[in-house]
């Protein structure tokens, strides 16, 4: 069971207070009518679903009721960061790979 830092409450809280809401940063197309069926279907249903670093939307449902973002590893389940709505992640799959690559170069065991 996860222990999640709510960026609005400023502390870690038990997973039972939260609901996961799927992939983060899915933006509704500004001009829906201009979208093809394919584009609209992509927005509605198609997801990244990576094995690794993932950005998710969660809501502190039994708490402050705020939505926020979580960067989490989908295999280790480690939460790498949480951040408020409207903010961008500081950790991404790419940045993690760079860290890993750098530590390999330095001979550090990651």
């Amino acid at each position: 069971m996860f222990y999640i830092y709510c960026p609005y409450c400023g502390e870690h809280r038990e997973e039972e207070e939260f609901h996961p809401k799927g992939q983060a940063h899915i933006e509704r197309p500004k001009e829906p009518e201009a979208c093809s069926d394919e584009e609209w279907g992509d927005y509605l249903f198609f997801r990244d679903n990576p094995r690794g670093v993932h950005h998710e939307l969660w809501v502190h449902a039994v708490g402050c009721r705020k939505f926020f973002n979580v960067t989490r590893h989908t295999v280790t389940y480690e939460i790498l960061e949480t951040y408020k709505m409207g903010e961008q992640p500081s950790i991404t799959a790419d940045s993690q790979n760079q860290v890993a690559a750098a530590s390999r170069q330095e001979g550090v065991r990651a």
């Binding site: 249903f45 990576p50 989908t74 295999v75």
Partner: protein, 416 residues
């Protein structure tokens, strides 16, 4: 292939079991195959088996990154039923059911398919409406099933609390007598042995690291054991589908979630049917070994860790004890998790993809095991022909663009 029989077993016993053959080979990969199946679980192996046996495509490789049958095939609660609501889903699962009914004999491998019946309980008026709707549809689709009232349920499962004491009293159930459970590992092993006997190369410990694609047409895969070529590639890798799709350059409408299950310590026989309740949310059967096999719900977040959150297990056992108060003193032995690829409409994807020659069979959510033979069969037919089999046709990934979803969870009220 060495044929299995009681007589053969006795013969082997006399020779101290020293002459049993391998159930499948451990071949070296060839450079080229007619068809590559990515994923050596039940569905992938079944696909290979039917390709070789029924559709005459024998130059087939099954590529498995771990050990065959080690994914969801090894981790599910083994329930087999076909009482799905929508025509498309019912056709697919009933196709599977018919194959289940002769599978042990076909494979010469006892998959222990036990048609002990499955009850789907209703606890609210809307549950009962959904049950009536589904059973009526099943009947007109030629699928067995009946609606039971609470008394009928009680007669079938005397140890269940069907009284009005319950928080959500049992109002009735749908009952599919032909449904049941099977021995999950044996399904993978039986298909593997059968496929191998028909010449299929099962390549374990072989991981696909990329696809070879030219002009929008697939012509092989990169693996950790070198490149392997084929003009037809079928991906059947539950828990890894999105990752493979990404390698091929597209997204799928999937999310991979943990699905947990647990078993009790073995008990003397006490429950001889499968009981599922969507409303209080738990399902249970008893294995031939005596374990109560219990399925928990899906965790809401994406996860490839083969484990989920503890409250999900708590909620499941609360439901089980609510339905079966006598099990309160029984003990949970072990819990585990699988990775289920869920589709927005709770139906699978059997589909062509934006890449020519590359097919996907995925998104089975919680319903994969029961479909294994049917899924393998229609997917094999599709790969052999290069065109989707009519039963598979409605399950195209492109339905999520057109909107022609087959929404099983909304209507059926049955998730597993």
């Amino acid at each position: 292939m060495q044929r299995y029989s009681g007589f053969g077993l006795a013969k082997h016993a006399l020779s101290h079991h020293e002459n049993w053959e391998r159930q499948w080979r451990n071949p070296t990969p060839k450079k080229q195959y007619d068809v590559i199946i990515v994923g050596g679980g039940g569905h992938g192996l079944a696909t290979a088996y039917y390709l070789a046996k029924e559709f005459g495509v024998k130059n087939v490789a099954v590529i498995e990154k771990g050990w065959l049958g080690g994914g969801n095939t090894a981790r599910n609660t083994t329930i087999v039923r076909s009482n799905y609501l929508w025509d498309e889903a019912a056709a697919l699962y009933e196709h599977a059911m018919k194959l289940w009914e002769g599978l042990s004999q076909d494979l010469n491998y006892n998959v222990m398919f036990s048609q002990r019946g499955v009850l789907n309980l209703g606890h609210t008026l809307q549950d009962m409406r959904d049950i009536q709707r589904r059973v009526n549809a099943n009947r007109l689709n030629g699928i067995d099933g009946e609606v039971l009232d609470a008394k009928g349920v009680q007669e079938l499962v005397p140890i269940m609390d069907c009284s009005s004491r319950a928080r959500y009293p049992v109002m009735g159930a749908s009952w599919q007598p032909r449904a049941g459970v099977a021995r999950h590992d044996a399904v993978a092993w039986g298909y593997a042995r059968g496929a191998d006997a028909h010449g299929v190369d099962i390549l374990q410990q072989t991981e696909v690291t990329g696809f070879k694609i030219r002009d929008g047409q697939v012509y092989g895969v990169h693996t950790n054991r070198g490149d392997i070529e084929a003009k037809t590639v079928g991906c059947v890798a539950a828990g890894n589908s999105s990752v493979l799709a990404k390698m091929a350059g597209f997204n799928l409408p999937l999310e991979s979630h943990p699905l947990q299950a647990l078993v009790s310590e073995p008990l003397k026989p006490i429950l001889d049917t499968v009981v599922m309740s969507n409303h209080v949310h738990g399902y249970i059967s008893q294995s031939d070994k005596g374990d109560l096999v219990i399925g928990a719900g899906i965790d809401g977040y994406n996860g490839y860790g083969q484990r989920g959150s503890y409250p999900t297990v708590e909620h499941t056992l609360q439901a089980i004890v609510e339905m079966f108060p006598i099990f309160s003193r029984v003990r949970m032995n072990r819990q585990w998790g699988g990775i289920v690829d869920t589709c927005p409409d709770a139906c699978p994807i059997l589909s062509k993809t934006p890449v020519k020659g590359l097919f996907f069979n995925c998104g089975w959510g919680t319903g994969g095991f029961k479909a294994t033979p049917g899924s393998g069969h229609v997917f094999a037919a599709s790969l052999a022909k290069g065109e989707m089999h009519p039963i598979a046709e409605p399950f195209s990934m492109f339905r999520f663009h057109s909107g022609a979803l087959i929404d099983e969870h909304g209507a059926a009220g049955v998730a597993h």
